[in-house]
Amino acid sequence: MAMELELGLALPSVNFPSKGLGLDLNGEASPMIAAVPKKKRSVADAFAGDNTTDTATLPLFVWDFADDGNNNKSAYSCSLEAFCDLLISDDDNGGSRSTAPVGWPPVKPARLKAAGGTRYVKVKMEGVAIGRKVDLSLHRSYATLLDAVDRLFTRNHHVEAAGDLTLGEDGASLPTSHFRTFTYQDVDGDWMLLGDVPWETFVKSAKRLKIHSSKE
């Protein structure tokens, strides 16, 4: 069931090695032993609600859920991320940053703090499963950024070009055929309209972008 959905929307890519993971609800999976710490729930608990962690059949997916306190659960398993996106509404819960096991991957905190200078931000377009990434440091103004983003999606996702993209006062683009609203999430977690603040401020504070499209 899940497989079909996934195939339908996913791009053929090596990032989707789902075929070998034993996605068989009933039978055995490949020899993967989920070392599931006691406090964490398997996906079976989350979705089916009736599996325990020590059944003879292995859990559907091998992953751990971490409850980050806000009842936001999403898988950290990279290989099943897209599938998970389909199961869980894309409600911009801050991505999967908060759900990795403690201390994993093993990167020292000092390194994490310092490398926070990366200017890569994720860009998600509503209705498109695959996110893109742009490097803000390569751009000097909103204009070039929007242009690049537009090209990213139209080139790869067969999304219609938005035509002339300029920001209106309300942050919405003024295309000829589609409205697109560009928003970004800042360091405080708030979603703002693109264009409200000067470019330099935006670059420093933007964590991710989201493009909402709504037909006229």
Partner: protein
């Protein structure tokens, strides 16, 4: 490592130089060295020490005091030449003559007595005496380091006196007796040149005299686990220590697996040192807790204090640094790295007194608040011996240029932020400053570097051997343009933003590369994104291995890997000593075949016979550990996470890896049987860490009971479950159980 000490009173040879692993160039050809007959009974010619002697473990011959000459030939074969020391030890090896006051003394790396082959062989045979002929190159090729101790008249006199005494008493000596070949002072003097900790440990095992000579002459001590020994035991054995290196918490504390206030507090040590080592000069701590009070105490207690290095420590603030700066008049080194430091502001740097000028090493790269640039500039200007300077992010390019102008002789530089908007003239000045740094061998920092300004460092890269770009967000094009400027590079650290293409550039430009570390720019990003994504794959790994055949150390964070790729990598680079592969999603299989990654690590341990350190990841069954136990015979450190199928996995390793010293495991299905399989092993290891495994507290209690010289500790934060041992830390100790354990640490 072998040392040949030649006391050459009549030479114009330079005064002694410190031992090093790099053979120093000879000042003059070595004269034929005739070795003194300090050793009684050195009379027979021929093949030297007999096989009988080789069967005696050296420590079982308590009064053995002969000096044994070993030559380690390329290929590792050791041949022994006995200088004598009792004909019954081995029949002597020939006549030794003395010329002037020459004396030869050699050691071998004593770590493995079983490897000693007592088979004498003449290196040169001139006039029927054993001699060492030829130039220093001759010996260098054969693994002998030649040190000249230079003129030391008192030592000469001592030797001559000892020789005369020995000659007089030779007849009186019983055939069974053995004379000490050296007066103690001589031995101590010579032992000062033995610096490696392993060699010194081995020297101390030879006999009682050597034990004493070693302990009196030792000035440096390294303690890999602060709880393995107590301050009292340390000072009792070694009275003259000037440099202490201590490591505290288990390594997984770097990743937040050890709760705060666990221990490893330095203060008790400092108090003991203050009374017994008033001349303490150096303190190097890793993963220890040190408070501002302790830093203040340190600064006031040791007037000759010279070097403080704190790596991954916690418990202090910049106020503590201020104490050091203001009170340590002779400070030469202040190295503060990656610590959990409370940064209250940069005024500590201004606490160095105006006349203070002895600094040689200053590293505050990981501090976050701004120091007074004025104070920094003046400090750099007056410390003429400064050779290592690593500033923090707040220092701008323009400021850096001013510092470089003042310190062109730097050998290690950590820049500040590299992103300032620079007018062209200023940029030219920066470039100029870098081009004057001809001695630079290490470069780091480069925060927020932009492609525009990176070329400014090119002129300084010509002699770089270590380039740390792990804080610089670079793209593959940046790296490809930078690397050809660094032809001598041996160590490279990068972020995975350079992607596989960047690693291809590494493979083609860095032929001498020995160490590569690729860090993830966005370790928690698990969403699948395409394009512009950053991240390296198996292709990049292969590309590096194809160009850099000298690779011996790799740390590689990636999101996908295949067994075939790893097999290719180690086929290209079989000399790995450190192989740390982190596939960032736990339990991730080979993404092409969907097999477990067992064969990958199998190929690593089968091919890389010199492997000392291994970190595994990905989907792994017990097979991986069977491979490790079967093949990784030189393995000393193993890190395991989210791997294995059963207790057998861990058992394979404990049974099969004789040199294992550190084993750290998290989130694996290893239980009590696995833990207890290592009962006999843990005393020969430094430590074992197991967290989120399947071990119970009762099993830990059993282990503690059976092995009283182990400290078995369980960290327990979850009150609800009484049987589960969440985190287990086992280590050998001569100091008994900890007395400073916090409530959440059960000492069993």
């Amino acid at each position: 490592m072998l040392f040949l000490f030649q006391i050459s009173p009549a030479q114009s040879a330079p005064p002694f130089f410190a031992s090093s692993t790099r053979f120093p160039p000879p000042a003059a050809a070595l004269r034929p060295l005739h070795l003194a007959p300090f050793f009684a009974g050195a009379s027979s010619k021929g093949s030297g020490v007999t096989a009988a002697a080789s069967k005696l473990p050296i420590t079982e011959v308590p009064e053995l005091s002969s000096l044994l000459l070993f030559v380690r030939f390329p290929g590792g074969v050791c041949e022994g030449f006995d200088f004598g020391g009792g004909s019954d030890v081995g029949g002597g090896v020939g006549e030794w003559g003395v010329e002037g006051a020459d004396l030869g003394l050699l050691w071998k790396d004593f770590c493995d007595p079983a490897a000693w082959i007592f088979r004498g062989r003449r290196i040169a045979d001139s006039a029927g005496v054993w001699g060492l002929d030829g130039s220093d190159d001759f010996y260098e090729e054969r693994g002998i380091i030649v040190l000249r101790l230079g003129e030391d008249r008192s030592l000469r006199r001592t030797f001559m006196a000892a020789k005369r005494k020995k000659e007089m008493t030779e007849e009186a000596r019983s055939p069974e007796g053995r004379l000490s070949p050296f007066p103690d002072e001589v031995l101590e003097h010579v032992l000062a040149f033995v610096k490696s900790h392993k060699d010194r440990s081995a020297v101390s095992l030879v006999c009682k005299e050597w034990f004493n000579a070693e302990r009196w002459s030792r000035i440096r001590v390294f303690i890999g686990n602060c709880y393995s020994v107590s301050p009292e035991i340390l000072v009792r054995r070694f009275p003259n220590i000037r440099s202490v290196t201590l490591k505290g918490k288990p390594r997984f504390s770097d990743f937040n697996l050890v709760p705060a206030n666990w221990g490893a507090d330095i203060h008790a040590w400092l108090v003991t040192f203050a009374s017994t080592y008033p001349f303490l000069e150096e303190l190097r701590l890793k993963r220890m807790t040190i408070t501002d009070e302790s830093l203040d105490f340190l600064a006031r207690s040791f007037p000759g204090f010279k070097a403080l290095s704190l790596v991954s420590c916690d418990g202090f603030s910049t106020n503590g640094l201020a104490s050091i700066a203001s009170s340590c008049r002779n400070l030469a080194e202040l190295d503060i790295q990656e610590n959990g430091i409370e940064d209250l502001g940069g005024s500590w740097l201004s606490c160095f007194p105006e006349h203070f000028n002895s600094l040689e090493v200053l590293n505050f790269a990981n501090l976050t608040t701004e120091v007074s640039f004025d104070a920094l500039e003046r400090l750099v200007a007056r410390c003429k011996s400064l050779r290592v300077l690593k500033v923090n992010k707040n220092v701008t390019l323009e400021q850096l240029q001013k510092l470089l102008v003042r310190a062109p002789k730097l050998t290690e530089l950590g820049t500040g932020s590299f992103s300032q908007e620079l007018a062209p003239r200023l940029y030219a000045e920066v470039e100029n400053a870098f081009s004057n740094c001809r001695d630079l061998h290490t470069l780091s920092g480069l925060w927020e570097v932009s492609s525009l300004y990176l070329p400014a460092i090119y002129p300084a890269c010509v002699s770089l051997t270590f380039l740390n770009l792990s804080y610089a967000v670079l793209l593959s094009t940046d790296l490809a343009k930078l690397l050809p400027n660094c032809p001598l590079l041996r160590r490279l650290w990068v972020l995975d933003t350079v992607e596989d293409k960047g690693l291809e550039a590494v493979g083609s430009s860095c032929r001498l590369l020995e160490e590569l570390r690729v860090f993830p720019a966005d370790p928690f990003d698990q969403e699948i994104v395409l394009d512009e994504v950053g991240g390296v794959t198996e292709s990049g790994f292969i590309a590096v291995s194809e160009g850099c055949h000298n690779l011996r150390y790799v740390l590689y964070f990636c999101r996908q890997m295949t067994n075939a790729a790893v097999a290719t990598v180690v086929r290209n680079c079989p000399n790995f000593t450190h192989f740390r592969l982190c596939i960032m999603s736990p339990h991730q299989a080979d993404y092409v075949t969907d097999d477990p990654m067992d064969e990958a690590f199998g190929s690593v341990v089968k091919t890389c016979t010199k492997l000392q350190r291994l970190a595994v990841s990905g989907l792994l069954t017990d097979k991986t550990f069977e491979y490790i136990g079967t093949y990784a015979k030189n393995l000393e450190t193993l890190s395991v996470a989210f791997a294995g199928s059963s207790d057998r996995g861990m058992q394979y390793v404990l049974e099969g890896c004789p040199k294992l010293r550190k084993l750290e495991i998290r989130d694996c299905p290893f239980g009590n049987a696995a833990l207890l399989a290592g009962l006999e092993r843990y005393e020969s290891m430094r430590s074992l860490w197991m967290s989120a495994c399947r071990v119970t507290i009762n099993a830990c209690r059993l282990l503690a009971r059976e092995m009283p010289r182990l400290n078995v500790e369980v960290i327990k934060e979850d009150e609800s479950d009484d049987t589960n041992a969440e985190k287990v830390y086992v280590y050998r100790s001569v100091a008994g159980p900890r007395r400073d354990a916090p409530p959440f640490v059960l000492t069993l």
